[in-house]
């Protein structure tokens, strides 16, 4: 099978068989499937060559073929997204402290060893940028022009945020819990990157302060030595290099909560392009999505049985069903779900179909979550390009 035009690795003319994906980047550039989608591939520190959206601050996208290799996204292939230019390039885990202050009975300054005295827990969870796939929304909007690779799935190890909060003791006035990390702007007027969760969300069973990722320390660009993990929620809340937890007695009104990362407070969080004057709410749980990973759009297939593989995930109810279509969504049939790594994880699936000689197919994949949510062919639009979960389609021709 030849790599289709959609994921063509510029300058290689490389071909790969289904499943036999390159362990290392084959070329120094890619053409993503939208206008102005040329991107260099570069190896940043602790990373294999990834798709560079911007080098400073680093925004790095995982080449999509990588997702065919397993349920976990390797640390050195995991996407990277920072907001502010001041990113520490030397971080001392031994000296690192997390300050817990605000509406608490006792302020704390916790080292990682202090954290490790709390019960250790693990969760496998998808971390996906709010703006993943932004460049695919039409009409397009300004912002980070990601294809589908600003996501990854990892096994996160750490301690429950709830246990940390309980050590400090929340006062009855506690309303939200605010998080910040070590990154900063270069001008005093630049708002520090701070994100907040309602107390009941922050105290959830599965929200953890993580110091390991897939069994290893976090790469610096993914938040070494410790980051927040909010399974099911978009990664804007997964604050990296976590250094301060501040319990607030009010709804956080800092820029990153009050102005940025908001979605329309409308049915389906969608508006007509160009609309103004609608109410907004902070982005929160992820939408259900599914992808084919074993082939790319524009694939050329041989006649006969074709195995399709892919992934699905949602905002934490888990995947109930994945269906595939070989006729652009006119008819559907079930794919087989593979091992369940938990309700926040990628769920791998496979299916097969018989490719007929001389036929052009439009393959499609659709997931349904345990909460009943599913995917639409043409979901709505929002001005920040968040929440994309359209049914993905893949053209494939059989010689």
């Amino acid at each position: 099978m030849e790599l289709g035009r959609r994921r063509f690795l510029a300058g290689t003319g490389a071909a790969f068989a289904a499943g036999a994906l390159p362990a290392r980047a084959l070329a120094d550039a890619v053409q993503l499937p939208f206008a102005n989608g040329e991107r260099p591939l570069m190896a940043f520190p602790q990373k294999r060559p990834l798709i560079v959206l911007t080098p400073r601050p680093p925004q790095l996208e995982t080449p999509f073929a990588l997702f065919d290799q397993g349920v976990y996204t390797p640390n050195d292939a995991f996407f990277v997204r920072w907001h502010l230019p001041g990113i520490p390039q030397e971080v001392d885990a031994t000296a690192h402290r997390i300050a817990v202050t605000g509406e608490v009975n006792q302020s704390l300054s916790l080292s990682l060893d202090d954290l490790a005295k709390l019960p250790q827990v693990e969760v496998t969870a998808v971390n996906q940028c709010s703006g993943n796939s932004r460049a695919l929304q039409a009409p397009r909007v300004p912002g980070g022009q990601w294809d589908n690779g600003a996501m990854g799935n990892a096994r996160w190890t750490g301690v429950r945020l709830r246990d940390v909060l309980d050590r400090a003791g929340l006062k009855p006035t506690a309303k939200q819990v605010q998080f910040r990390g070590l990154d900063h702007g270069v001008f005093p007027a630049t708002p520090d990157f701070r994100k907040s969760l309602d107390v009941d969300v922050a105290r959830g069973d599965d929200v953890i302060v993580a110091y390991a990722m897939n069994g290893a320390p976090l790469p610096v660009l993914n938040g070494y030595p410790v980051r927040l993990v909010v399974p099911g929620w978009y990664s804007t809340y997964w604050v990296k290099m976590l250094s301060a937890i501040t319990v607030l007695d009010h709804a956080d009104d800092n820029f990153w909560m009050k102005t940025a990362y908001r979605i329309p407070d409308t049915p389906d969080n969608s508006v007509v392009p160009g609309s103004t004057g609608f109410a907004t709410i902070p982005i929160n749980r992820m939408r259900v999505r599914s992808f084919v990973t074993s082939l790319a759009d524009g694939a050329k297939l041989g006649a006969g049985p074709v195995e399709l593989r892919g992934i699905a995930f949602d905002g934490g109810s888990g995947i109930k069903r994945v269906e595939i279509s070989t006729d652009n969504g006119t008819t559907w049939r079930d794919a087989a779900l593979e091992q369940d790594y938990g309700k926040y994880s990628f769920r791998r699936w496979h299916a097969s179909f018989n490719a007929a000689r001389g036929t052009a197919y439009t393959l499609a994949v659709r997931a349904t979550a345990n909460d009943g949510a599913t995917q639409q062919a043409a979901p709505g639009w929002n001005p920040s390009g968040y929440l994309r979960n359209a049914i993905e389609t893949y053209k494939a021709t059989v010689a």
Partner: protein, 113 residues
């Protein structure tokens, strides 16, 4: 972590069912310094053109040219909104009299009239 402990951890995840969290063999938190050297702008630069000096002087303090060059085609009104956001929201000290030159450059080099 060894292959053995990974398999134990996975078994725990499977066994827990309803809860996504699993008790796991102890993984020690990291100690010591991690040091990286970021590549700066990795050789990327703004296109030449009238006004590029003002753009270099004001925009590159916080981000590389790729923040601009990877955008879809934006109108002058959209570029104006972006520059205004950098100034008023992100606190970039852009002089008022530099704004028109910056917007004109961005529109000519990366946008549409």
């Amino acid at each position: 972590m060894t292959k053995r402990t990974i398999s134990i951890a996975l078994a725990c995840v499977a066994a827990f069912g309803a809860s996504a969290l699993a008790a796991a063999p102890k993984t020690a938190p990291p100690h010591g310094k991690a040091t990286i050297a970021l590549p700066g702008d990795a050789g990327m630069a703004f296109k030449p053109g009238p006004g590029v000096a003002a753009v270099q002087a004001n925009c590159l303090t916080c981000h590389s040219s790729a923040y601009v060059s990877t955008q879809p085609v934006l109108s002058k009104a959209q570029w104006t909104a972006e520059v205004t956001k950098m100034k008023n929201v992100y606190g970039a000290p852009i002089a008022d009299d530099a704004v028109p030159a910056i917007v004109d450059y961005l529109t000519a080099a990366y946008g549409k009239p």
